[in-house]
Structures are given as C-alpha cells and as structure tokens.
Symmetry: C2
Subunit: 398 residues, 2 copies
C-alpha cells in the first residue's frame, strides 16, 4: 500500500559514504526530516488521548522552508480536525508548503467539511502521511483527490508509530477485532519489581503521564489479581485533565477480589475467572456490582484469546494490559497483542528483581518490531508493534 519512502526535502549529498549508509547511533538522527516532522505530529496527536473517541487521534504540521508555520491536533470529538487547525494557523503562507498529518486527510463531510478541500484550497504543494485512513469513506479517496489536483502525496513515513497511535481505530474499522496493548515499566535490567510482592514506582512523572494517555485510549485496563493485591493500583487517568478512566479488568482465577472496592460500584469492572471458581463468590461480587466472566483455562491459566473476545462482547473492545509478569507473559505467549510500550528507568534491580518475562520467547514467536525509542524526562520509552497485526492492517489499507 505504501509508496517507497521518499524524502524530497533533504537532497542526498554525493559524498562517498552515501547518507543512506549513515546509521543512527543513539538517537533518531539517521532518520529523514520527514520522519522528524511526522514524529512531532504524532507526539502532538497524543495530547488529546481520551478526548476524540470514536474519532482517531490526529496531529498536523504545515512546514515551509524548514519552518513550522502552523501545527495542531484534533482536540475533541466534534471539533476541528488537525489539518484544519494547522492550515488556519499557517494562513496564506501555507501556499507551496508541506502538510504533515498523521492520517490520510478525510474526503467526506462529517461534523466538519472534508479536509482535502481545505488542503487543496490552501495551495499546499505536498502532503506527507504515515498511512491511509481505514474509514471506508476515506481509505485512499483522500489521497486520490489530492493527487488529481497535482498535490504530491508521500505515504509510509513512521507508519508503525502512527498505527500504535490509533490501534483500536484501525482494527475496528478494518474488522480485525479488539486491540490489545501491553504496557510495562521496567529497569535497565528488565525487572518490573525489586522483588516479588513489592510495589515500586519505577519511572518518573512524565513517563507515567504517557502511561495514562495509553489508558485513556483503551476501553479497558487489565491486571492480574496478584498485581491488584501487591500494588493496589488506581488504574485511572489522574495525570490528565478531564478524561474518563477505562474499565478495570482483573484476571482472578479463584475470585479473591474483595467484596468492597470502588471499582465494583463505580467503574463497571470486569473480573475474568475460571470455570471452577466458587459460585458463592461470584454471586457476592455480582451483587456488589462486578461483571464476572468465566473463561476456559489451560494449565490453570485463563485462555487469553477467549478472555479478550468475552471483553469485546461486553463493550470493552480495546484493552491495555498492565501486568504483572504472569499476565504479560500469557498475552505474549498467546500471541494476543498488537502494541507494546516499555518505560525504562536508569536503575538496576539485579537478580532478586522480578523479570519481565516468565518464559523465553524467540524472535519469530515474539514477532515484535520496534516502532520507536526516545528519551523522555529521564526515562526511555520504547514502543513495539506486532508484525502480525501490522501486516494485517497494511494489507487491508488499499
């Protein structure tokens, strides 16, 4: 579906070692300037996490002669689109410039007029996007309309990061089922806790704010009962302004969840349990407000694929999995995940720490592809996309 990634703004020098052979050594410096601007637009788009559903998160920049003339993001469902904000800010100077936008501009009238019309009328000379829009009213139509008017459109820049930005939107529009994202805070040596049963605040506030943005774009946030007991997490989005928290989901094979807890009566929580969990506990938890779902098990672990399907039936069609190790490993081994975000802190927990994975998973079986890596206020954020999910989505974007 993608054009080869072309970069018109940075002419390659004719030095003996071509720029293409310059490899990046600790930063994204090897990337092209198109990637820099799309990255920035993606970062912008994340600002509205939790406020645009069912619309996707979108960010946009207008750039001319190396200057950002306008930038914006879709801030709230029903309000202006990112392209529109960026173009308006740029004004007349947008003429002949490049529009960087994290998703194909829309070609249809919804709450707002089609963005392609605005792009065309503003005289933009080139549009750079990571992917097409999977919405059947767009999916390639926006690009065709722009190209028919002589506007150059380059597709495929930073597509992995853009897919992670709107994973649930892509999967649902393309009929690919629920979206599952894994989120892990860990040390430099891959430990998620300093020892078993210990709760540790591993990363700094900025990384945690990002974790809350991840929560905000998922309908459910899932943990194991051990993590619930150890961490007493709130699983909310308190570091963001006015964003509804996701539905707490706890995997709890023998229904140890307490009979009184704010999630029961206020957050429509779901408890995933086994077929042989005690019935009287189920009845008590249901009375207290929980939705209890019994799933098949193998080797005393709940069937992950079935659990995710059951959640979807209950309206939770995107899930952020926050651990602990056993839960994380079960999703990885089942191959039921689309994206993964690791938040890494510069500390070592050593051999007593609890490792990220409770089993070895080879590169092929893991099927994970790095999408991005960056330093964020003292921590590093690394994102990965499932190769399987990536292929399924890109194959369907015509």
């Amino acid at each position: 579906m993608c054009d080869a990634h072309r970069d018109k703004t940075v002419p390659l020098s004719d030095i003996p070692e071509s720029v293409d052979r310059v490899t990046s050594f600790g930063a994204d410096g090897g990337c092209r300037i198109d990637e820099f601007f799309i990255d920035r637009a993606i970062d912008f788009a994340w600002m509205a996490a939790g406020k645009t559903q069912p619309n996707p998160l979108v960010g946009a920049l207008v750039v001319k002669d190396g200057r950002i003339l306008g930038e914006g993001y879709h801030q709230k469902y029903g309000e202006d689109h990112a392209e529109s904000i960026a173009l308006e800010r740029a004004g007349e100077s947008a003429r002949g410039g490049t529009l960087y936008v994290t998703l194909e501009p829309c070609a249809h009238t919804g709450n707002t007029p089609p963005c392609v019309d605005e792009v065309i009328s503003n005289g933009v000379g080139r549009v750079v996007i990571p992917t097409l829009d999977p919405d059947e009213r767009v999916n390639g139509r926006g690009v065709r309309m722009l190209r028919e008017r002589g506007i150059q459109v380059d597709i495929g820049v930073r597509s992995d990061r853009a897919l992670l930005l709107n994973m649930a939107y892509f999967k649902s529009k393309l009929g690919l089922g629920p979206a599952v994202t894994l989120k892990i805070a860990m040390t430099l040596d891959g430990k998620i806790a300093s020892r078993r049963g210990q709760r540790d605040d591993i990363t700094g506030t900025e990384a945690r704010r990002m974790a809350h943005r991840l929560r905000a774009v998922h309908e459910g946030v899932l943990i194991g009962i051990e993590t619930f007991v150890t961490d007493s997490p709130q699983l909310d989005c308190r570091l963001l302004d006015s964003v509804d928290p996701p539905v707490p989901v706890v995997i709890d094979g023998s229904l140890k969840f307490p009979g009184r807890h704010p999630w029961l009566d206020r957050r429509q929580m779901v408890i995933l349990t086994s077929k042989d969990a005690p019935e009287e506990r189920e009845a008590a938890l249901v009375r207290a407000g929980a939705r209890v779902v019994r799933c098949g098990t193998s080797e005393s672990a709940i069937d992950i694929a079935e659990a995710v399907a059951e959640l979807e039936k209950r309206g939770v069609s995107s899930v952020l999995v926050e651990g602990g190790r056993k839960v994380f490993s079960s999703f990885v081994e089942a191959g039921v995940w689309d994206g993964m975000f690791l938040f890494v802190s510069p500390v070592l927990f050593g051999p007593d720490g609890v490792g990220l994975a409770d089993r070895a998973v080879g590169k092929e079986n893991l099927g994970a592809r790095f999408a991005g890596a960056s330093v964020v206020s003292g921590d590093v954020v690394v994102s990965l996309i499932s190769e399987k999910t990536r292929s399924a989505i890109l194959d369907r974007l015509s």
Copy 2:
C-alpha cells in the same frame, strides 16, 4: 558553560498547549529541529570511528531554509575538517545559513587552517554546537571569534551524545583520566545470554557494526575470562574498513588464559590478574607475548579502579568493557565508567537467561543519564552517560 538551549528555527505556536508540553511518545519527535540536525551530524561523525585519532570525530551540516546544503565529517587524521567539507559542498549558498557541527570549530592552525576563518568567510549566519572543544588552543576561543564577527552561536544541543562520541578525547584533554565505556547486547527482558555458558548472537549486523565502531574508538577492549571461554570472541573491527583492532584485555584472576592464542603474539594483549595468581602461569603467558598485570583484589574480585590505572600506564587509556555480567557489574559498582551503550533485540530469554546485573544498584548510585535512544535495523540502541563524568567535563569547559 552552556547557553540555554534556544531554537530559532522553529517558532513556537501559540496554541493552548504549548509545544514545550508536547512530550515524545516513542520517538525523538518532541525534540527541536536543531537536535535533529545535530543528531544527524553526530551519526555522520561516527562513520570515521578509528580513523581520526588523536583528532576527535566531528560531523557537520550546512542548513538553509530547511534544506541540507552540504554535509561532511572528518574522515581521517590529517585530512579536511568536517566544517570545511560541509561548507565547500554548500558553496555560495551557505551564506546566511546555519552550520551544525558536533564540536566547537577550531581557532588554530594545525594540519589545516582554522575552521573559524572559513566559517566567517563563507557568510554563515548561525553556528550550533553541542559543546566547546576541550583542546586548550580552542576551548571557547572559536566561539568568541565567531561571536565577535556577529555570528550567532548556540551551545548545548545534544551535548550528552556529543560527549559520548568523543569521551576519550574530552577526558584526556581535560586531565580527567582514562575513558571507560560499557557495551552490552541484551534482550527486551535484560538478558545477556540465554543461559550460563551459552553464547548467543543477540543483535543484528547493523547493531554489531556500531559495536565495532565503539571498539574502534577505544584503545582496549575488556572482557572477563568466563566470557572469553564461552564466547571465543575476536574483539576486532571486522565489520569496518581498514580500522586497527583495539588491544584485548582479559580479567583473569587465576590465569586460565590459554598458552597459545593469536592475541598473545599479534595483539599485545593485557591480562589483568590477582596478586596470588600462579607465577609459572604468568611466566608462560609473558613468554608467549602477553602483558600480565597484577592488581589488588577485594572479595576475590580485581580492584577496577586500579586495573584501569594500570592499563593507562601501559598506553591503554580508553577501554570498552564488553562483559560478561560479573565484569559489567564490577565496573558499575566501582563507579568506574563514563558511557554505556545497550543494544537491545526484540526477543525474550526469560528466567533462565543471564541478567545484565548481578546486584541491585539504585538510581543515585548508578548515576546514569539517558543520552539517546533509537531504532536501528530491527534493534534498539540506548546510550547513557555517567552524571559524574558529565558534570566533571562540563564544569571544566569554560
């Protein structure tokens, strides 16, 4: 020493959430465009690893209106400086442009004329550098000369990555002693081997090429005897063209190193051992060509600070430490390290794997600051700088 990091090329928009609040979510997108160009110049500079000693590695770009008009790097000792190559490629069009260079332009005549003269005569309007040049003939003089001619100079962009690029150069010019860099290839879950005694090729070729560049800029490359036995590594720079390999250094407390090995007669290897190692083994190894150095020990581990000092006495004043776990941990615990490069592969070795660290080290004690993170051909490269080293260097750059 540094000006506050200013960014004149990207005007901040007046949107409600200022651009400063846009946080990066998986790539370096939150960074400013100055950082993009300095990152690129740093990546360029690395291309010549092993070929410029005793000169530093330097890369440069000339940018105007968002276009790279010329770029270059110092390719070999005695040949043109990076600034000179970039300016020559840009030609007349450099006038009014910005020169990005990874080190303060030189103000003195060496093998080539002073770069500042060329920068001034080419009409560049602005110069962006990460740090001053610690060479006493430069250290601030280059910047003063440029500013006296009305050229704007911004200092401090990506200084951590620039310090890592030339750690040995900075430390030796400033009288801060030998440079020690730790290099670790590991899995997503922080494992350096799938089990004890197992050799694993963890990362791909491009990450390994970078590891060879790290070897090329160090005079010695150090491993423990266990890693020698398990991995039979070559510790050379075979993925680079015509670069001399560093001196192999093996920590070998009881002198188990074999009596015949190519390193003995061809690579002037150094064996660091304990005071009570068998004398007849020492005599045999010395006859075979090794330099054997006895160091003090505590808890049967060699004193790391003493070992590094002894290496310096033998002309090995920069060392790349390549493991294994015990060796890595001993350098970290001794606080004897300046930079750290982690090469991370998308695979999980699980609980049977050998972890990166054999002891917990808290954030304060580790004193590590992330310098960069990026995706490189299927792996992630993360670099860290020692807070202590960083402060010592920046304090001395006037």
